[in-house]
Amino acid sequence: MLRRSRVAATSGATGRVEISRGAIAAIAQDALTEAYGVVGMAPSGLRGNLAYYLRQADPQRGIEVEVNRDQITINLSVILEYGVRISEVAQNVKELVKFAVEQALEMKVVAVNVYVQGLHFSDDQARAGEKA
């Protein structure tokens, strides 16, 4: 049985390279700050909830990295800006994070799962204006 590992590792002729899950999460987090439509992260324990929003305290909150042998899976719990097309932004986020991590590590990311935990209204006045 495969044991879930704390590190992603590659071995080559000149030795072994290990990358911690925290380092992978940092790469993902960096990519996420530039991901258009994403305005925050949510605690990942509350998967499946809609409209749950808390201010960001831990920068890597909402980012879970799983490693099985050299296979990386990343789970993201994100808060999106109200008014963006959620399905499209989620798709963009998947591509962006997968690209950033794969480019940095030259390792395969098998899945990026995006959990949209909530929507953020930038200002209520604008929201009221659009409803009218």
């Binding site: 530039e34 499946g48 909830n49 809609l50 409209a51 959620i86 963009n92 949209v116 409803k131």
Partner: protein, 566 residues
């Protein structure tokens, strides 16, 4: 911009003309904008994605105009809505936010002058910046912001509408030309930002319309703007040659360095351009992107592989595409220029979704989660099979999932399965909160069956409750109800009646085991005063302490609150 005589303000018709011209200009240049993406980054097809978004926005605004919507403000609101619903790719999402801010800036005004245009552009920039934690400068964000700043400065000099618009374009072009200074990856590749070029291209179309020139997809070509000197050269070559030859194979390939040997860009470019027409070859010594129309794609690949590793090879037979479009295969939206349309295929995968709901807030949430078709209805007015069928048929895709969102609509929805040639699955959601939970589980990469299973499971993962008022005195399921009392339902079944909404709400919370829940979402009804919902949230906090409660303006009729407990 409006009528021939009055150029101080723009009305709804003027706005439509400007938008059409902007869209036509973008259509003409979409492929060139795609070619600006040198590196294999996500959202590589910026031109295509912006165009698909703009086409969706234009379709929405024209549909609204046909149904009698007039006035710049109301039309702009429809435009923004269409852009949001049809946004594609990263650049498309940003464009939709820009249009949303623009619409908000115009507000309800039937016309706008130069001053209001500047206000709307500022709002467009602000809205676009707000949807990202760390805005990157040197992108389309910078271009729209500088355009807005230039417009504001112009108003103080000469507030005439056309003067402000001209200044806006000048500012946008200037900002575009400076994108390589701000972003190293553009500088290294010797190109301007593709999304920024898209914004400039849209503005150029609008400016032409404002000066009374007509622009159609087939005739109008605006000289390319912005860019570094090198980039301008590339774009001009492209424009001069493109559009003349629509037979042969549209061949795209990336050439990457082999074993870190630098690529001889100039030589490779020269060799490849000799092999076909409409050639665009850009890049640097590490990576070269090739786009060329040729009768012999094999020769292009043979040449390219001598120099480096090939990646992202794509060869399309342009004459087949033209025939397919002429035969009407592509549908109505992309016909204006069949040749361009042929190269802009809609590759949206995954199932499409029809959801039943009423209430502006609920509909907005469902649409935001990806429901393309909304059929109005719900608790008190169930939609007909025909209405559902029409919604299914109206979607372009062949695989459709229906969310009935009401136990009385499930059977109606299941009728649709046999009435259409499309593949339809009904996910039996009994309430809108269940429908929302189901939508959040959609994975557009999965098959119809996989999605239906995941959605059914997600819908069952929440408890949904509703609060409304009894319309007559009766006894249902052992519960005595007096006309006018507040009544509570859990998962569609009547469980409790009381004189106040609060009493019912707390009974429902107790019965749904709220103490152990993580989140309560309350969807406030149309007839509930705004303050009442917030007061209700306070009451729940008093009783349940730390339990997270989210209040959403659902806007549903008749039902004071819909509630989900997770």
């Amino acid at each position: 911009m409006s009528s021939e005589t009055d150029t101080t303000v723009c009305d709804g018709n003027g706005l439509l003309a400007a938008l059409d011209a902007a869209g036509a200009n973008l259509e003409h240049h979409a492929e060139a904008i795609n070619a600006l993406n040198v590196f294999p980054v996500p959202d590589g097809d910026t031109g295509k994605n912006m165009l698909l978004t703009m086409q969706a926005a234009l379709a929405a605004v024209h549909a609204a105009a046909a149904e009698g919507t007039t006035g710049a403000g109301p039309l702009a609101a429809k435009l923004a809505r269409g852009a949001m619903m049809g946004s594609r790719g990263n650049s498309g999402v940003i464009l939709s936010q820009i249009l949303r801010g623009f619409a908000r800036g115009i507000g309800e005004e039937a016309t706008f002058d130069g001053q209001l245009l500047a206000v709307a552009l500022r709002e467009a920039a602000t809205t676009a910046y707000r949807a990202v934690q760390h805005p990157v400068e040197g992108t389309m964000l910078t271009v729209i912001r500088v355009a807005a700043e230039t417009a504001e400065a112009a108003v103080t000099q000469d507030a005439a509408l056309v003067a402000v618009l001209d200044a806006t374009l000048a500012g946008a072009r200037d900002a575009l030309a400076r994108t390589p200074e701000l972003l190293a990856r553009l500088r290294e590749a010797g190109v301007v930002d593709a999304g920024g070029q898209g914004i400039v291209t849209l503005l150029e179309g609008a400016v032409l319309a404002a000066h009374g020139e007509t622009l159609t997809a087939s005739s109008g070509v605006v000289a390319p703007s912005g860019g570094t000197a090198a980039e301008l050269g590339t774009m001009s070559d492209f424009m001069a040659e493109h559009g003349e030859d629509e037979v042969g194979y549209c061949t795209n390939v990336m050439i990457a360095q082999r074993e870190r040997q630098p690529l001889d860009f100039e030589l490779i470019r020269e060799r490849l351009l000799a092999l076909g027409e409409s050639g665009v070859v850009i890049g640097d010594e590490e990576l070269i992107k090739v786009h060329i129309h040729t009768e012999n794609p094999g020769a292009v690949l043979t040449e390219a592989v001598q120099w480096g590793e090939l990646d992202q090879i794509r060869i399309d037979n342009m004459s087949f595409q033209v025939e397919a479009v002429s035969a009407g295969v592509r549908g109505a939206t992309a016909i204006a220029n069949p040749l361009t349309a042929a190269s802009i295929e809609d590759d949206s995968g995954g199932p499409q979704i029809v959801a039943v709901a009423s209430g502006d807030g609920l509909i907005a949430v469902l649409q935001g989660l990806g429901a393309q078709g909304i059929v109005s209805g719900g608790q008190t007015m169930n939609p007909s099979t025909e209405e559902l069928l029409r919604a299914v048929e109206a979607l372009p895709g062949n695989e459709v999932i229906i969310l009935p969102n009401n136990s009385n609509v499930i059977l109606t929805a299941e009728q649709v399965v046999d009435l259409t040639s499309k593949q339809v699955v009904v996910v039996p959601t009994r309430s809108v909160p269940q429908g929302i939970a189901a939508l959040a589980a959609v994975n557009f990469d999965d098959t119809l069956t996989e999605n239906a299973e995941a959605m059914t499971e997600a819908a069952q993962g929440i408890r949904s409750a509703e609060i409304t008022h009894a319309v007559r005195t009766t006894t249902i399921g052992g519960v005595d109800v007096i006309e006018g009392q507040a009544i509570g339902l859990i998962d569609g079944k009547l469980v409790y009646a009381a004189d106040t909404v609060e009493a019912v709400l707390f009974e429902l919370l107790a019965r749904t085991d709220a103490t152990n829940a993580e989140l309560i979402t309350l969807y406030q009804g149309l007839d509930v005063p705004e303050a009442a919902g917030a007061a209700m949230v306070e009451l729940i906090h008093e009783r349940y302490g730390d339990l997270a409660v989210e209040l959403v303006e659902g806007g549903q009729p008749h039902y004071d609150y819909l509630m989900s407990v997770e």
